[in-house]
């Protein structure tokens, strides 16, 4: 079977800077893969190139056997990519329910419907509500997103990625800036996702990262320096040096 996500010799240059410098990685279907690395290692840029937010300078991205390197972002979403952002990207003027409703409709041709009110689409509404329940935001369904707390906006961010039932989830520091209890909640939620779903996650919190990962990829200065099971990565001297600083 082909891998869920396969990246080959991916390069992304910004002017003279090679943010991603020839990264190759292969994530089998159903795996939980965590990407770690110091700031500026190219993790988020790599995510952007895989999900289509940015176009890579060179290299190839394959999603379940299909070459998606040149596909626009919305088409990749239609193929089953779900994405969260490091900095919450939610629609502040709409309610929580409207946000996840848009997520539910994003991969549905009924997003073009003009003649019926959106609230009349019962199945869409149900999917949207289910997604809010999953992340624990059901009580805030009618609340304008602008009024939510930071932690709640992170939960919504995750709900947006999950609503359209993706085949692979790309989570960019889902726990960033959360309190320890909120972190634990998100970690439990991610840990409880069905194993049919492939998860790629960028995470700085080592406890969260190593607790969830089947396998860890370490990036440093745009390159992969190690790829292995959590225990191996944790004890690797090179990783300790680049990631935890000179000891």
């Amino acid at each position: 079977m082909s891998a869920a996500v396969e990246v080959a010799e991916l390069v992304k240059e910004f002017g003279g800077l090679r943010a991603v410098d020839g990264v190759s990685l292969r994530v089998p279907s159903g795996e939980r893969r965590v990407l770690i690395g110091p700031n500026g290692a190219g993790k988020t840029t790599l995510f952007h190139c895989v999900t289509g937010t940015l176009a890579p300078s060179a290299g190839r991205v394959t999603f379940f056997g299909r070459d998606v390197t040149r596909l626009p972002e919305h088409r990749r979403t239609a193929l089953g990519m779900g994405r969260t952002f490091q900095i919450s990207n939610v629609i502040a003027d709409l309610t929580c329910l409207e946000n996840v409703t848009l997520a539910a409709l994003g991969t549905d041709p009924r997003k073009w419907m003009v003649q019926r009110p959106v609230t009349a689409l019962v199945d869409v509404r149900r999917a949207a509500q289910a997604s809010l329940e999953l992340v624990g935001l059901a009580p805030q369904a009618g609340e304008t997103v602008r009024r939510l707390s930071y932690g709640e906006q992170r939960q919504l961010e995750l709900a947006l990625a999950l609503t359209a039932r993706p085949r692979a989830l790309f989570l960019d520091e889902p726990c960033a800036g959360l309190s320890p209890s909120e972190r634990a909640r998100i970690a439990r939620l991610i840990g409880g996702l069905p194993r049919t779903l492939t998860v790629l996650m960028i995470e700085h919190d080592m406890d969260v990262a190593l607790g969830l990962a089947d396998r860890v990829t370490v990036l440093h200065r745009g390159r992969v320096i190690l790829d292995g099971p959590p225990a191996e990565v944790q004890s690797d001297p090179q990783v300790r040096e680049v990631y935890f600083g000179h000891v």
Binding site: F85, N89, I91, G106, K111, V114, P117
Partner: protein
């Protein structure tokens, strides 16, 4: 609908129907004009208030529809049943072309729509053999379809009122639909919407064309009311004022653009009767609106009553 809103709606309809019995021809003309420009403002607001695009070329669709209908009706004797739809089609076709502006955003979108608007104005102004130049096309008759014909300004007022009511209802359905919600999503965060699977440019293009259709309808209603059309209809101030009507009344609402149209046209009529520099007064009104009441009067009322603005 709450009983209070129902009461307001019934009162408004009753007042609108009864108006010709209490108001003279001058006032009927002014109110008809408010309805027509309210529709134009509403068309601009589909982009401004819902999709977050500030178009400054909607006078073009309005004018091209008006000119097409007028030229066919006056010069070629084409009956209303064909001339009016032809005007609508002409404005829509122009919308399909000008819709390419959605490839740009922000200030570039504003600039390109200004440029589009000037092209149309230039054609109306300079191609005198076809458009009549500065004199425009005059002697447009009242509309007549078969044995039914409009014979007075009062009858035309009722026609415009009915058309506006139907279009406003259609608009309400549109903005509450999945498509309408997607436009508000794009206004809020286009990058997020792309990640959710929306081809935002296609959504914005469709919204642009729909708003051009509505502006064209306003143009057809305008030419039968005004009885003539000249390059002023295609001019930059018409496009800008339509946007400002929406802003003064309240963007993202349906009543807002009509209220804004009523305030601005009413104020202009009143001020220009005793003050030559009325344009300066209008400018001050816009500055006050943008600086202190950016959500418009409807938005302000909703905020004061603790609700959020919604179509």
């Amino acid at each position: 609908m709450t009983p209070a809103r129902l009461a307001v709606a019934v009162a408004l309809v009753a007042a609108a129907v009864a108006l010709p019995h209490v108001a003279g021809p001058f006032w009927m003309g002014l109110v008809t004009q408010m309805i027509v420009f309210g529709l134009l403002a509403l068309s601009v607001d589909l982009l401004l208030g819902h999709a977050g695009l500030f178009s400054v070329c909607h006078g073009s669709f309005f004018a091209v529809a008006a000119y097409t209908t007028a030229i066919l009706q006056v010069r070629y004797g084409v009956p209303t049943a064909l001339a009016a739809p032809a005007g609508l089609v002409a404005g829509t076709l122009l919308g399909l072309v000008f819709g390419l502006a959605v490839r740009t955003r922000g200030v570039y979108f504003i600039l390109i729509t200004i440029a589009f608007g000037y092209v149309v104005w230039g054609v109306a102004h300079r191609w005198s053999s076809f458009t009549g130049g500065d004199n425009g096309v005059t002697n447009v008759p009242f509309p007549a379809v078969g044995s039914w014909r409009v014979e007075s300004h009062v009858e035309y007022y009722y026609l415009a009122l009915a058309a506006a009511a139907l279009l406003a209802l259609g608009y309400r359905v549109l903005v509450r639909s999945p498509f309408g919600l997607a436009l508000r999503g794009i206004k809020g965060s286009e990058s997020r919407m792309r990640t959710l699977g929306y081809d935002s440019n296609r959504h914005l293009y469709a919204a642009f064309v729909l708003s051009a259709v509505l502006a064209s309808m306003a143009g057809v209603l305008y030419v039968y009311y005004n009885r003539f059309v000249n390059p002023v209809a295609a001019s930059f101030p018409v496009s800008v004022e339509a946007a400002l009507m929406a802003i003064v009344g309240g963007t993202g609402t349906i009543a807002g653009p009509f209220i804004g149209s009523a305030i601005i046209l009413g104020l202009r009529n009143w001020v220009s009767s005793f003050f030559e520099l009325y344009a300066a007064v209008m400018g001050l009104v816009f500055i006050v609106a943008v600086l202190w009441v950016p959500e418009g009067l409807v938005g302000l009322a909703l905020r004061l009553s603790g609700r959020t603005a919604r179509g």
